[in-house]
Symmetry: C2
């Protein structure tokens, strides 16, 4: 290795590479295509480029406490990084220079460009029956004749007016009661959970009641912040799962736990911290943005922050106390780590989870900072890695109420499959890895401004047209320097492989077909020695580098799609059906998916294109359904024990099917519906 | 005031007085009769005399953080007092010299002589039906055919074997489950609370299950440590309520909360700390005592502690984890402070509590260090200050099942009265203060070795005979210096007033009758100017001072007994009965009480002596009944709402009755049963 080069990995994006010794972390991030915010243009005054040095050296992993692989602390950093943060490795990206190999974590708030929430909430029908309901009661003041206690006073009214009896009250809510009653002049709003427990008492009348449904994905966290009274989704917040630094998929995280005494504790702490930060973001969104108002010359005091409300917008100005219910879904491994349950056994055959059943846990017992009396409902697990997230998909899509046979594919770092109808449902999971979510590829990125999300390749010239998030015009209608492309996100990846295949750039085996290349976009990278194809030239990018897809990237995508395809195929065999009535594609990028491209690249067995529908983040929708309708919680427990789980890896022909499925669709007999979508000579290639 | 004297108050005993400037805290405590342990004889090597400086000066109450009213810190103290303790004011009594006025708190462990637990558990009949039950299950290992989760596996067996269904599991217990199952080779013991929730999972088979019933009194805490399986009381531990430093009775503690922003928080922290320390003591008692083994000359290392088991004794060697259930009873004010509920309103007319109903609270939510999943059952409150402790008395004595009319008097800092039978029960409370418990009198002390517990006064000579705790022989059969009397405890106080009255030393109004004195024991104290009567001469004491009862002391006792008597009288009037079928005396010193003396001094309206019974610490017994039989919890809630509470202070003739009741029994018509017990001329005195 070149003595003047150092190796850098940025987390959670996974961007990595060698850079020259002595450049700043910000410069390195730009060269490697990692997003770091740098508002002030590296003038060391905005403090937006905070990063955390995770490991100072890859050789002495986790040994040194003060990584010396970056340049020493600078005075300017004192303003933005407190001593506690400093101890845990925080630095400013603009002043820290890379001296030796580094693993750097870029916190959510330091990443440039807010993620475009592809996990948006869909309009699904949910009956209004939340677990937390508001009851307004007016009671008489105590007198010598009737000196009954505060709690019994409101209980009597709750029974009379709402028919609620045998109520209990959380100790934290009980502590609020005497003051609330007297401040409200003996009129209070009581939040009752499951018609069973009083979890909040507020003075006066209120109809404000909020909850959050959270989909904890292996790579991405998505939270739906809902008004429990109106069912409205007030905000959707998403961020990367910070556990990514312990491993990209569930198995590597389970391994991290098994190899490190404090592994589970660390991963648990990180996810809880992340959920609290997501909740904070949701709360912050209910206030106007703030602007720093500089004090005038001669004025005393310091600069102040002033609210800048948008005209006509109503701000709810909520507090954490206002969040009175939470529902969470996730796969089994994430479930165990989130709840601090030993995930070792769910990672070892025959993969038994610690628990299937749903759980009601006090938010305070998990360390979540919301209303102190509120509960977290954790959806039940199915089996193996098919966890509460798939149960979420099921209660959102309800295939168990339908005659038609549905194949539901939930694409995530762990792919989850459901097949069947009201007669029988089977489920399984396959390790797709994060490639289809836009991670781990040379220029993969999350769905944020600058991400290439749509791609067309001209079959005759191999010229590329594309569209980036945050800009409406396609490349061919834009000046090159206006594109400012940064990388490629999930939906772009699907498009890309389909287009590369259709236009003959890669063969059915996924190899770049050197003989068929028609443009200078195809080339051999002199540094890596790999073949690659240029999607966007340096001048069109904001990272000042050609954005390419390499042979290795294509392999990654093939592995992911192969796992899904083989899974679907084996499931169909297991259920004894040849074709399905509907294919539903769910997942982070489900709403953006081009069903034609998905069919062409062979994500799932051939079927008529009109049978394919995108259902968006169905897991999140199911989680939201459980938040807004408590009956859905019962339904979740019922269905979780009534889906038959298939362990794909132990199926006899798994390995064979998987190898076959790595290929792109060919041989017309097996793919009748590709006729007309893909040129005959491509499908018929030998 | 003499410039060379300083004022000292010792808490919780309340002992106070002036001492010479410059003497050690230990010397001061000896002069004032406060108990401080000094094993090493002030050689500064045992560290047993730890005390806490509460306030450095009475003028600047609570202002100074570093009280300078004691001599500076000495090197020797470092060995026994850590820096945290030092910051909160801990010192060694032997090295700290008093320089200015001081308020000193003597922690339980530094008090000389273990309290003789008068709150011993009585044999009462309790049906065995604890809230926590142990279930032993054996399950099959998971296989590919049956990969069901750990929890569902044990649930299936719990249903099959014990008929338990719809169980939930506490998150902490769930975290133990996977390891317990595998360590126990798929055989585990499951602790189930109320047939509803799994709160513990242990590998293998166990029949060890423990609980604690705690009576939180205003002045004294008493804990009954029980085996839930055998119902056996393993240990009884008691200590002073550390809240005594905030005030001796409930009203002064409520006032302390109202006057101090952090008052409730401080009192709550103190009681929780005390309960944890009581639990620690109970746990420690299951191990052999330890002895320090000095290393031999030339040997390496430090001195070691070695266990010294008593021969033939079996040690349970329990941990805090082994305590799986707790029940607590206390008066309403103590209840609110314990649960961190605002006690302000229960102290203001019409005295409504925050809650009457019983509570099931996770021990962890109260900060109690026992099994993390276990619950604390807090008994329900009646009304006003008549709290869960009286409910304890009721479910122990069950007057609601009897035909006979019972008057139950629970003597504590707050006296609580119940009157009635299965037709009707009424209750009330009266502020007796701590005098009858042995506190606040010049030489009052708790029931510990050296306390005078029995007194006889010869009516002809006024010679005094007495007995102290820890010595079987009475004074008249002992050499004076062997008595080593220290003070007078609760039962001694009752004896004392009855004897003083019977022998004519005090009149019916409680005044020392100067004309009738027959010995030199009666005198006027030149310092205080008060009349006093000597019970024990200095040579018979360990404090080297005459133990006396002063005119002021007699007044204190009269106030207490007057409050009780008036309360009983008004209750009888309210129920419309002239006499009762039974008088039950409960309370800390209930087991030791001499019923004849209680009758003579007029604790309650006249009745035949055979109708009087002592029922010991009935509140604690009821609390224990609720621990061992969950049906008693339901009964407690029922009876707490079915006793009619009488607010005595608003009864029309309360003041008048109270004034009358201060007098000692006289006028034979009203006290027919005193005939023969008290000389006629005393009863008939004008």
């Amino acid at each position: 290795m070149d003595d003047n080069k150092v190796k850098i990995i940025f987390q959670p994006s996974g961007r990595r590479g060698e850079v020259s010794k002595g450049i700043s972390v910000i410069e390195a991030s730009r060269l490697l295509g990692a997003d770091i915010e740098a508002l002030c243009g590296e003038k060391k005054v905005c403090g937006k480029c905070k990063i955390r040095i995770e490991e100072g050296s890859f050789e002495t992993y986790g040994v040194e406490s003060q990584p010396s692989h970056v340049s020493p602390w600078q005075e300017e950093e004192d303003k933005f990084i407190n001593s506690e943060e400093r101890q845990t490795g925080y630095r400013l990206g603009c002043v820290s220079k890379v001296l030796k190999d580094l693993l750097i974590f870029v916190p959510e708030e330091s990443r440039a460009g807010k993620q475009v929430v592809s996990k948006a909430a869909r309009d699904i029908y949910i009956e209004h029956n939340p677990a937390v309901k508001l009851c307004y009661v007016e009671v008489e003041k105590p007198t010598f004749e009737e000196p009954t206690g505060d709690y019994e006073r409101i209980c009597a009214e709750l029974e009379k007016k709402y028919g609620l009896n045998d109520l209990t009250i959380d100790i934290e809510a009980l502590r609020q009661l005497p003051t609330a009653l007297r401040r409200g002049d003996w009129k209070v709003t009581v939040s009752v959970w499951m018609d069973r427990e009083v979890i909040r008492v507020r003075p006066g009348q209120s109809n404000q009641s909020y909850g959050v449904a959270i989909d904890v994905g292996t790579t991405t966290l998505a939270a739906y912040f809902c008004n429990l009274a109106t069912m409205e989704v007030i905000d959707t917040v998403s961020m990367m799962n910070p556990q990514c630094k312990y491993g990209e998929d569930v198995m590597s995280r389970i391994t991290y736990h098994m190899m490190n005494d404090d592994g589970l504790e660390k991963m648990n702490r990180d996810i809880i911290e992340a959920l609290n930060s997501i909740i904070d973001q949701a709360i912050e969104g209910t206030y106007p943005q703030k602007r720093k108002v500089k004090k005038k010359k001669g004025e005393e005091g310091v600069d102040e922050w002033q609210e800048v409300p948008e005209e006509g917008k109503i701000y709810l100005r909520l507090t954490r106390e206002d969040i009175e219910d939470i529902t969470i879904c996730c796969n089994t491994a994430m479930h165990h780590i989130l709840l601090n349950l030993d995930p070792e056994h769910v990672g070892l055959a025959p993969f038994p989870p610690v628990i299937h059943h749903s759980l009601d846990i006090k938010a305070r017992d998990l360390g979540l900072s919301v209303n102190p009396s509120s509960y977290v409902f954790v959806l039940p697990n199915e089996a193996g890695f098919v966890g509460a997230d798939n149960v979420g998909v099921l209660i959102a899509e309800e295939p168990y109420h339908k005659d038609e046979i549905q194949l539901i594919i939930d694409i995530g770092t762990n792919g989850e499959l459901v097949l069947g109808n009201k007669e029988k449902l089977i489920s399984s999971s396959c390790a797709t890895g994060p490639a289809l979510e836009g991670a781990q590829l040379s220029f993969g990125m999350r769905a944020a401004p600058g991400a290439i999300e749509r791609i067309k390749i001209d079959p005759d010239t191999h010229e590329v047209d594309y569209k980036v998030i945050g800009r409406d015009a396609w490349r061919m209608y834009s000046e090159p320097q206006k594109m400012r492309a940064k990388g490629i996100c999930g939906s772009g990846i699907l498009d890309l492989l389909a287009e590369l295949y259709k236009s003959g750039i890669v063969t059915k085996t996924g190899v770049f077909n050197k003989k068929k290349q028609k443009s200078d976009r195809f080339r051999r990278n002199p540094d890596s020695g790999q073949n690659e194809f240029v999607l966007a030239w340096a001048e069109e990018t904001s990272i000042k580098k050609d954005i390419v897809i390499t042979q290795k990237d294509v392999r990654q995508i093939q592995l992911a799609k192969g796992a899904l395809y083989a899974g679907c195929k084996l499931m169909l065999q297991r259920l004894g059906v040849d074709e399905v009535d509907k294919v539903k594609i769910a997942g982070a990028f489900g709403t953006h998916i081009d069903r034609e491209k998905a069919l062409i690249m062979g994500l799932f067995p051939d079927c008529a294109i009109e049978k394919i529908v995108s259902v968006g983040n169905a897991a999140g929708d199911g989680c939201r359904a459980a938040l807004l309708n408590r009956e859905k919680r019962t339904e979740a427990n019922w269905i979780s024990r009534n889906v038959e789980y298939i362990e794909l890896t132990v199926e006899e022909n798994f390995q064979e099917e998987f190898m076959r499925a790595m290929h792109l669709p060919h041989m017309t007999d097996e793919f009748p519906h590709l006729k007309g979508l893909v040129p005959e000579e491509i499908l018929n290639q030998k």
